[in-house]
Symmetry: C2
């Protein structure tokens, strides 16, 4: 198995791109990544996307974007795993390069989720829930996150304020990220007064749906060292799944797929949690951040919220360093590739005001649904 490295990254700003088509948005990130790597083309394009069919009436995105990016005729397909589509595409690209069959793969995450509004978008977004047992009864992602959060508060005796700093931290970091959707900081007292989305999930507990595209270029480490001054190695890649429906889980808070995929990735990288300098987790809801910290082994069950004061850029376990899904914005199927791209900026030492000092090892984790599919990668200098 070949060792794999990232040699180029690209992104578009995250936000509402109503004047840009899905193909153009994707091509912007593809061209930026090629420029960054200083290469004219790649051998394959793997696209992470969740809602092309349901929101933009456009599937078959990979050949479309390959052509629009000037890469007509290369190998191209789409990988879907709901909100984890970006992480899944990274996994597929990693495997392709590791196999030796493909020299250079562009992993692109692209999503336009704001072209529908209101109930139409909610319905389109619900295709990644269990259609027969959740969505059909009117369940939505925020509503299910609310069930998790309410039960967690009851079970472990915590108040809403336990989740506050996850939101504040994301916005503090996002305020320094020129590509973030929301650059506002959260003022003292604002969290407690935030309007409810699905009680107890408030506006500040949930990440905004967004449009955006991010890309990373993968090749073998052997080839990477000849191409760029600072290749970033992917030293671990782990994937696992769980039920779609929450009611099918034996353990509501176990987040088994997070635990399994994290352990696989760390074992492959041969590192322990102590070595990790930053953790880009899937903070679509503050409750997911808390549960991820627990399931990934950074906190005991019921104690994840206690890490709230250790997650800043200068703290022991920085998370959401460019604002995370919460403040940078959540371009659903692209989110996992944004994480990879941001981790590369950190490991190159080019994260600017968002830099984590001496970042050498990053853990990134893309979560589909409420823990139904999880893709975890370790990136290292």
């Amino acid at each position: 198995m070949r060792d794999v490295a990232i040699i180029g990254i690209g992104q578009t700003p995250v936000g509402e791109h109503w004047d840009t088509s899905l193909r153009a948005l994707g091509a912007d990130a593809v061209r930026a990544a090629l420029d960054d790597a200083g290469i004219p083309a790649v051998d394959a394009l793997y696209v992470g996307n969740a809602y092309g069919a349901s929101i933009s009436s456009q599937s078959h995105l990979a050949p479309l974007i390959a052509d629009h990016s000037g890469l007509n005729s290369i190998e191209a397909y789409t990988i879907e795993s709901a909100e984890a589509s970006g992480g899944a595409a990274l996994r597929a690209g990693y495997l392709a390069v590791a196999s030796g069959a493909v020299e250079t793969v562009m992993v692109l995450g692209v999503e336009k989720s704001t072209d529908m509004i209101g109930t139409a978008r909610t319905r389109a977004r619900s295709v990644s829930l269990d259609a027969d047992y959740e969505a059909i009864h009117g369940a939505t992602q925020p509503a299910l996150a609310a069930l998790l959060m309410r039960r967690y508060m009851h079970e472990f005796g915590v108040e809403l304020s336990a989740f506050e700093n996850f939101s504040i931290n994301a916005h503090t970091n996002g305020s320094k990220n020129a590509n973030a959707m929301y650059k506002n900081k959260i003022k003292p007292g604002a969290f407690a007064k935030a309007p409810m989305i699905a009680d107890p999930v408030s506006l500040f507990d949930s990440a905004p749906d967004a449009d955006g595209a991010a890309a990373v270029i993968l090749t073998s480490v052997e080839r990477a060292v000849d191409l760029v001054p600072q290749p970033i190695r992917i030293t671990g890649s782990g994937a696992a799944s769980d039920t779609l429906a929450l009611h099918d889980r034996d353990d509501l808070f176990g987040m088994k797929a997070i635990t399994l995929s994290t352990n696989k990735a760390l074992m492959q990288a041969g590192i322990t949690r102590d070595a990790i300098n930053l953790f880009e987790l899937h903070d679509a809801f503050t409750i997911l951040s808390v549960l991820a910290l627990e399931a990934a082994g950074f906190a005991e069950r019921g104690d994840g919220w206690r890490l709230a004061d250790q997650i800043g850029l200068e703290d022991s376990l920085p998370i959401s360093t460019f604002g995370g899904l919460k403040s940078r914005g959540n371009p659903v199927g692209a989110a996992g590739v944004y994480q990879a791209m941001e981790a590369v900026l950190q490991l190159r030492g080019t994260a600017g005001a968002n830099q984590v000092t001496d970042a050498k090892v990053a853990l990134i984790q893309s979560v589909g649904g409420l823990g139904s599919a999880v893709f975890t990668h370790v990136l290292q200098t």
Copy 2:
């Protein structure tokens, strides 16, 4: 790079499965493949599917089907490349096993395309065309195939009858396949009188949308020989892409992605076209069969239709040996995996009445759109 083999296959009948859910249909093929291989589980499930979101309001299929099949917690994601989703999933599974990172992968193609009818289905099926420049103007897959066919007839001076035997051959073979959607033979004279779908594409030129699921289990050749008596090797895997929109092509009949992916697969396998005993091509429309024979190098440009009398089970280049998309039925994103499963039956010598004598080498080809993404594999005993 590890050599890869198929050690288990499964399928459901192809047809209208209105009483079976998407997850149950997929799980039926998964369980059948596990039984065939004689193993209790796999390490990963890669699902080829095109219309889960647009027709069944269900994406995030891979973890859903993994769980429903008793494989909860394994790596699982969906691969989409329109009608070539099955071939793309096979490619992804091949790369994963070849890399050495995954021991055993279940590649499942599953589709329910008949849960919508009439214009609703036509609209849902159009998400894989170019949404901004084709579908929005009312173009549909059959209409675009009709443009291709009409122009081909004009350019090369052939009549409708040139396409007749492709349909007759498919139905002759499908009539012997218990899992085929349509087991009727086409009577003499019926082709010329078939009702038009999109002139000159008639009912007998176009494959029927269908529901179905097929699965193949991949592992390393090294491991395969210990597990089953007749592992079938995947000796070549090629992928290429082209524009989505026909009007963007330099050459309407070139089918560049077919040529490129075929050449890649044959080169990797180290064989020439003479060695091929059967060719499972993507006969969604008879014009696509003709163009595939040309672009894959079995006939000169404009001469593909002349092979019409050489494609039977006992002829020099058998195609659609179990009825192809035309008679076995076209379960869209599952079609590419049906091809792989049927090729394995041939190479094992267990194809019954559909057996191609002494089949040792099979070429299978999954085509998305009208040649926008193509995945070609060589399977050998």
